[in-house]
Amino acid sequence: MNTPSMLSEPPSRRGSIACVGLGMVLGSHLTPLARSHIEQADVIFAALSNGIVEKWLERMHPDVRSLQPYYGKGDKSRKVTYQEWVDVMMAEVRKGKVVCGVFYGHPGVFAWSPHAVIEAARSEGYEAHMEPGISAEDCLYADLGIDPGRRGCQHFEANQLLFFDTRINTDTYLILWQTGLVGDRSFKRLRTEPAYRQLLVEVLNKDYPLSHEAIVYRGATLPIEQARVRRITLGELPNVDITAEETVVIPPLSRPRRNRAMMARLDALDRMFENPG
């Protein structure tokens, strides 16, 4: 919109879509490139963390369409909703519009529709791409002082641990997303009761003692907030209220064991390459 039309409109104008991240904190995380996508689009679709952030986005573009109304009120599967999101965005792309999907955090992190719409657009020959944003994961590393490279880091949707026999490596950090509604197979509920988290704890208790630490983390979304960090034990997890905006971190339990066989082979290689001839 701010660019001369000669530059923004190719000769044969075709629809396109960019999915961009708004980051987590209002005013702090939006990248210049994501903002430019927003400003240059014909139409914006938005799935954001709260209505205040949505109001902020509305200041950047005159045609912001919230994807929020597609959610049901406990009576509609989110699978239906997320397909509808893809469909409404694709409908505008097919009309030849420059579409921008704006998602809180990183559009491709624990989010189905942005990946799906990009795949759909590309399969129909439209230009489509994703612009990364600062996700809850990034804020978590900063606020909790965790470097995922120090001990390794595994991320799972909490449901994966219940629905599948999932191997956990206790040497690493374990990050559980969407724990607040763990066990919901209807994809309709907003929260699940403590008994569902109890099942999650049972699964985790195969690898960790109940006395092991669990960190319940909520990163700020408004710049007048600070992160909320609750340190509890695994055994307490069922009985604390976990909101949709919280992520659970289980710190490492064990230390990695040295791979002696590989060390010996590295020694041999070092001898060969450090003292050739």
């Binding site: 005013g27 963390s49 709260n50 949505e54 989110r78 989010a111 449901n159 600070q226």
Partner: protein, 121 residues
């Protein structure tokens, strides 16, 4: 919703107030105040009294000040309506339906069932 800054000599660094559209000294509403704080290194992590002082100097609304005091975004519903607070929902639909329920998991076959750990093991 528009509010006038209480004093023209507000203690803010040049160019930090307002949005792209507003110059220093313009009126700011709640969204503009939030944006100004979000992008300013000396405000973003101001805590307690200092943050309240900044908000008061910006002539922030009562609901924004209350939100800052309590950390409860629900106070902003007074200004923006009930629908505004936490719209976060699960956005992963798993791909779980792609899997056969009783598909064997080859690498786990023959492994002993793991048993729960005792509280202090």
């Amino acid at each position: 919703m528009k509010r006038i800054l209480s004093s023209p000599a507000t203690p803010y660094p040049q160019g930090t107030l307002g949005t792209n559209d507003n110059e220093k000294g313009d009126t700011m509403d709640t969204i503009e105040i939030l944006e100004a704080i979000g992008k300013n290194a000396s405000y973003r992590h101001a805590s307690g009294e200092r943050l309240l002082g900044i908000l008061s100097a910006m002539d922030a609304s009562e609901s924004l000040e209350r939100t800052a005091k309590t950390g409860d975004q629900h106070h902003l519903a007074v200004e923006f309506g009930q629908e505004i607070v936490s719209m976060v929902q699960s956005q992963v639909q798993g791909g779980y339906e792609d899997q056969e329920d009783d598909e064997p998991c080859p690498e786990r076959d023959g492994e002993d069932e793991r048993t729960p750990l005792s509280p202090d093991s």
